[in-house]
Structures are given as structure tokens and as C-alpha cells.
Amino acid sequence: MPVVTLYLKRLGKLVGGKTNKSKIMESLPFLGLDIEEETKDYIRVEYSPNRPDYATDVGIAAGLQGLLGLKKGAEKLDIKKSDKSALIQTDTATKKTRQHICGIIAKNGKMDDETIKQLIALQEDLHFGVGRRRKKASVGIHDLDKISLPLVYTVASKAHRFVPLTMSHEMSVEQILEKMDVGRDYGHLLENQVSVTIILDAKKKTISLPPIINSALTTVSTQTKNILVEVTGTDKNATEDTLAVVATTLHGLGFTLYDLKTDARGSSQIFKTRPMTLDPDLVNQILGLKLTPLSICNYLKKCRLDAVTKGKKILCQIPRFRFDIFGPMDLVEEVALGYGIQNLTTSLPASTSVGQKNPVTKKLDQLSQVMTGLGFTEALNSSLTSKRVLYEATKRDSSGLIEVLESKSQEHTILRDSMLPGLLENLSRNIHESYPQKLFETGTIFSKGSPIKESISLACLSAHKDTSFTEIKAALQSLLKTDSNIECSTKASQNPIFVQGKTADVMVAGRKVGVIGEISPQVIENFKIRAQVSGFEIILSDFILQG
């Protein structure tokens, strides 16, 4: 989950009223924000990825104002008219690559270092979340006073040159993609494209190479008063959602918003609210409360949404930046937040059912009991293991290997098809402990099927200087007899993990259900175990758990 740093003094000022630190700290969790770190001056809170407006203190302040009753209902985004030059002309050639663009102008604001930091953090969050790592949408924030309007959204070849942000010399697009970090990170979005999208101003100066980087020309600093925001992307909704969050944040920071037209429409059309009807019965059913429509409206307003009663229903207006709201159920949650989760009392519905464990669980419990009775201690290993443990050290056949893609851990790349290797690995890590060592495990093993077969298996090992086939066969027979009244036999066979001549298949009613034997000296050496080892593995799904 993403995290935002909040300076308490700044936040307190943004919230206004007579809020102190403790009041803020108390309220944050009830906005759904987890406090990760707390110092005297600042706190770090984790916010939900579906609320990018909480990526800045301005957004969080708006939420707090609602919960604390300082301000209710939605902030009205008043978009002032601009002159005709406030326009982004779109070249049809962009349709083939990154076809959507929209933007807004924000004037007469104050930028300080912290505000710039917050805006950058917001941008990053939007790029990652809604923007899907800049594919669906990416934001450019520019110093308006460095730009001559109107803008042109067009395409250029990779030889196109300009001075990118943070650099002092011209580079070609090709060089940016090759040499700059952002170029390497996001260059794949421009793969297989002959031309790239760029934004030029009226004087043909490059202001941005979306979705990679802005030009140095329009860098925003603490001197910046007026801002131009453009959002480009491959998904119209994501592009406009992103713009809505940025515009709402700039409004919260005290900027005055001005229309920036694209060919088709102006910004104000983008920010139209969405009407949504909410049935008070749904609210009361889901929350287990008896709220009046009027109080429901009040709780929605505390969540910074506009709501009025309309007959027996409630009509709610959803601001564009609240794209986390899909339908009435999301509004139910808003009511719960407005009501205050801390104010919800618990109730306990009567149970109409008798609970029970799954039969498989019951059987495994019983088998485990018998195994401990036989002196075996239970081990637990991962289903994901390594080629080394599963096949190389045990000399087992790896033709049925099932692999996962791009594991971050070398020790977890293959799904186990047997549990004996894991137990041998356990013995090898316990060579300094006293013998005898007897371990067992029950769990799932995997083999090729349609597409994958999962079976439940039981394996055990006995390690000490005098262990033998006889000892382990006696344990096996006792287990099956005690647990399930099953007689089993052992039929000589071959298996590379066991000693030749001291290994057999476990047979039940004429069917092979497992393997048994003394572990081969070579395998024991591979695991650096300092004792003799014998063991067995039986596939419970093939007999005891069948049907």
C-alpha cells in the first residue's frame, strides 16, 4: 500500500478550525488511513490505492474536514473560462499511439518545496495506479509562464531533440530512452513505434515527451505561480480520472482553475458530477442500522459528497475524482465512515447451522496423532521448493517438473512432487541435534494433470545409527493398521533415493500407493546427514482419502 508523509503543522493549517494533533491522529484511522510512523513533526500514513486523492495532505485535509464536521459536502470545482488560445490541438497521427489528451490551467497559487514534493508524490501514485505504470495515463505539470499557447499534441521521430527535465543539454528521444533512468524504465511503452508523441507549444518548443519526461523548459519551482497540467494516455477514462484528481488537489492548494480545451471539449465537461441514487433500505440492511434518509445525507456530506433526499430515495452527486465509487454499495461504505466505524455496535446473529471440519482435515488429524504416537515429530515445509533439494540432491527424476515464473526466491521455484526431499533437507539442518531424529509431514504434492494434479501425501523419515528397512516398515504397517485398519505389503522395486535392494513399493489391495526404503548413502552424503536414514511416503489421495 502506498504511503504519504504528512507534516502536522501544515496539515493542521489545511484542515483549519481548532484541530490539534491528537484530534487529527485519532481521526486518521477512521478515514481508512493507517499510521505507519509517528514523529514530533511529521507522520507517515498508508492509504488505499483506490483513493489517489489521499496521496497529498490537501486531499487528506479535505477528508478530515468532513469527519470533524468543519466542512461538509463536495468542494465545488469552479472552472473559469479562458481565452481562445487555451487549447491543445491534436494531430491525428497521435491516434495510433497515445490517443487521449486532456488538461487544465491553474493560476495564482503558491508553490513551496513541500507542495512540490506532494505534487510529485501524487503524480507517481497516479502513474502507478490509475495510469498502470504510465501506460493508461501519465501526467505532466508545467510552469504556464514558460509556455506559449496554444499547444500542439503531435508526433515526432526518435531523432527529435530537446532538453529533458533535470538535464542542461539537448538530447534526442533515442538518447533519452537509452541513457536516462525514466527512459529505461518506461521506454518499453514506445517499443515498436517509429514515431513518438510530443507536446509542442506555439513557438514549436517541446514541452513534453509523454509518457517519459517533460522538458527542462517548463520545470516547476517555488517561483512558479501558474501551472498547466496535461494528461495523456491510451485509456480515455483513466486519462480524465487522473486529471480530475490533479485538478481537485490544485483547487485544494488554493489555485484558481481555468479551462484548457482539447479539440473536442473543455475541462469543465470532464469534471461533471455523476448522479447516483441510493436506497436508504440498502444502507440500513447492510449496516444493521435504522437511519433516516436525512441523516444518511448528512453522513454522506461528512464524506465530502453532495446528497439530497428525493422521495424515499437519496440522490447523490459523485465528483469526478471519486472513481472508486462504482455503485450504491460504495455509498453504503461512505455512510458507515460518516457515521463513524467506532460508533457501530456489534451484534451476534444466531447460528442456524452445525459446524464441521472437512473429512480430509479430520483424517489428517487422526493420521498425525498416530504418527506422533509412533514417535515422529511433525515438520512443515513449503510446497514451493528448489531443483537442488527436490531432484539434484535426491537423484530423483525431474521430467515431471512444474515450475513457477520469475520467483523472487531461488529456494522457491518448483512445486514439490514428493515430500521426502523436504524432510531430508530438514535433517541436514539438524545434524547438531541429538539422534534419533524422526520427522513426518502431511501436505499437498503436485504432478502433471489437466492441468495440474494435487494429491495429499504423508511422508516420514527416521534417522539414527541403527535405523533399517525393518524399523520403517513396522512403522508403516502400524500406522495403516491403527488409523484405517488397512493391511499393506511391500514389493521390491527400484528408486534412486533409496538403497538398491532395500527399497520397495507400498502396496494396498494390489495397488501401489507409495514408496519405502533405506535412503541411499549418496543421498545422505548430498544432504551431509550424519546418520542412517529410512523412510516412506504414501499418497493418501490414492487410497485412504479416495472418494
Binding site: 490505492p49 455503485g327 451476534l348 512443515l380 512444474i402 515450475e403 494435487e454
Partner: protein
Amino acid sequence: MSQVLHPIEKSIIKLLKSTPDLAEEQIAEKTNLSIDQTRRGIEWLRLKGLASVSESEKSFVKLGANGLKAKQEGLPERKLVNLIAGQPASFSELQKKLQGEINVAIANAKKNDWITIQKGETENIVSLKHNPGQTREEKMISYISENTVAVDQIKDSATLESIKRRPDFLVIETTKSRTVSLSEQAKTIDTDKQDTGAIDVEADVPRVYAARTHPLKDTIDEIREVFVSLGFSEVMGNFAQPSFWNFDALFTPQDHPAREMQDTFYIKGKAAEKFANPTQIKRVSDSHKKGWKYDWNVEAAKKMVLRTHTTCVTVKYLAENKPDEARIFSLGRVFRNEKLSYKHLVEFNQVEGIVVGKNVSLRDLMGIQTEFYKKMGLYKIKFWPTFFPYTEPSLQTMVYNQRLGKWVELFGMGIFRPEVTKPFGITRPVLAWGGGIERIAMLKYGLDDVREFYNNNLSWLRTVSKCQ
């Protein structure tokens, strides 16, 4: 009280009864026991309150190299006065004979007022004032001679100090000695009494370890029992699941970051052939198109993943059974493509419970949670809002951890989104909650590193106490 004594103990008691208060070494020597045996025996006796040991430090003195030389040849000043006994001698003559000792000899002889020094024609002449008798230092050197003498036996400590100041005249050695004395009770013990065949029932014995189930399994069982006692029945499902049930059925869009390979394990070269019926697929597809506004792709839904939560099992159960009323739970391993750390595992256990009913509410969900935690021995809990992609409203439980002195996040909960339930024809609210089991087990066993559960260290498995 009858006391069983080891033969070693008996022989020590026997000796000390006749010769009280001996040092360990002396006891060893006189009983013919090794020093180790003696020390062990003394320790046993001490623990039984039959003997006490007093430790003391003692210093001994013997002559060093220069001291021994002086004993043979006399002190440097004595050598000097012997040389000038007949007639005075010049400084250079004396230097030839006394060499390095000349300065010390002159200084001490002058201090003792034995000599006079006069200016001659070319150099100083040293002559004897009167014939000196034996000094205290000389007496002490001949007293110590080649012996080692306890410092506390020497009465003239001032002289000892002055000899000490001469380099390498004396060697002082300090030794610690442990003197053993019998208690009054021990003095009454008859060591010759007939052995009754009794053993020391109070002594330590070698450790044995009970074979046992895994501590984490015990917690898992405990959680299962709690669910069953609350009227829940257990359902099970596969670890390897088509993306459809793990993600799509739970309204996770196909381009969602959680579905990327860096978070989820995809199984190489495996795609599900039949995973749901056409109506289910169509409706899920529609739900995604409507909610997320993109073209849902059936191929992405076929990719096999290792389940990232047990919710895929419960949602599949709901889709297949469409119950009007139900209390079910599923419990088992889930997988995340994470770097291993003290708080992250690649594979861990999760439990999830759901309640389906006509009039069930968020308050009921909170009530069931409270009851669940109470049964797990966790009483101090509170609820905070949170976000989960497939529930709305969503809450998380915070539990107060006494040991850490802070609130920790435990299970998440919520009501399944209509976008999840509607495609499968489920119209009643579905309350759902769940979370990682290792987290609870860590609280119970007081562990700070979750990996300990899967290390299978026998030193831990054999000795950790069952949860109370």
C-alpha cells in the same frame, strides 16, 4: 531425612570429618580422587547444604634472579664495603669490579652512612667510615633464601617493601584457594553405613523429547475448532487455480498490479481448459466491462496461478452452491511472490470465513469477529475502515499486543461487492473475513520472525511449550 550419597561425596565427608577445613587440592591428594572428581563432589555437597566453600586469596614471596644473586654474593653495597675494607679505592677501580652495580652500591652505602667520598687529584676516592653490621634487608634475604614464604608470615613488612623496590629481587605470587568445611549436618553422617541401594532421586536426568505435532499446526487446529464451534463448515480447494477464480471472479481487473508476475506465482506453461461454465464466464466478463470499462480477455483468465488467497475457494463454493443461508470457512496455504523476510513468507496459511444470510449486516460481521477473537484469547480489539478490492464496506481488526505494547493489524473483513456476487446469482449479502494465521501464531508463541515456523529446527520443535 535420608540422603543418598555418591561414593565421591562419602570419601570427602569421611576425610573432612577427621581433618576439617581443607583446600580442594589437599582433599584431592588425600582421597586419591582426581581434582575434577573432587570439585564435582564438593559442588554436590554444597548444593545439598552439606558443605560450604570459602574462597580466599594468599600471597607468597620468593627470591627473584637478582635476589638469589645477592644471597650468594651479597648486596651491591656489601660488595662495595668489602672492597674498601683494607684501603680506600678510586671510583674507577670500584667501577671495574662492581660494573653495573656501582651506582646502587654507592647510593645505598651513602644512605647507610658507611662511606665517605673525597675529591682526589684526578678522581673521587671512596673510603670506609666504619665497618657495618648485617642489615635488615640482608637478614630477610637469607631468611627467605630458596623458600617460598607466605607474605603474612613476614612481620617486617617495611623491609619487604624496600627489597621489593629493587628490580627482580622478589617474586610475589597470589593464589586463590577454596577451603571446604562440613556443615553440622554433614558431620553427623555415618559414611560407613550399609548402602541401601537407593539412588539420588533429586538429581538431574538426561532430557527426552516428546514426539509432537507442529506448533503452527496446533494453532491452525485451534482456529479450525473455533470456526466449527461458531457453526462454520470447512470447504477445501486446490492450491493451483485458474486466474478466473483467483482474480476475475473477485472483480480484480486484468491489468491490476496484484496480477503481475512480481506479486503472483504463475505456473509455467499451464492454462486451465475447463474452469467455469459459459454463463459464469459471460457474466464475470460483463461485470468487468461495466465496472472497469475494458475488454475482458478469457485467455488471461485461464492462466494457472498459485492461489494468492483462500477467497478463490469460498467464491467458487458460493458460485456452485448458491446458498441462501451458509456459514463456511476455508483454510490453507496461499502464495505470494515476495522476498523472504522476518515478516514475509512465500507461502503461508490463511483462513477465511463467510456468512450468507437474509438479514446479515456489517454489525453482525463485527460481532462474529469479536466472538472469534474472544475464543482465541484476544480480548482487546477494535475496528478500522480499510480497502479490499472485492469487499464493500471493508474493515480491518486491530488487536492490542501486550508484549509489543501496540495495536497490530489482524484479520480483514467486509461484505462481498455486488460486482462479485451478482454474476454468480447470489443476491443475499455475503459477509467475509480472514487473514494470515502465522500472524496469530506469532502472537501466541511470542515469535518475531515468521520464518521460524518453517525452519524445522529440532531445538525449537522439541522444546517449545504448547500454547496455553
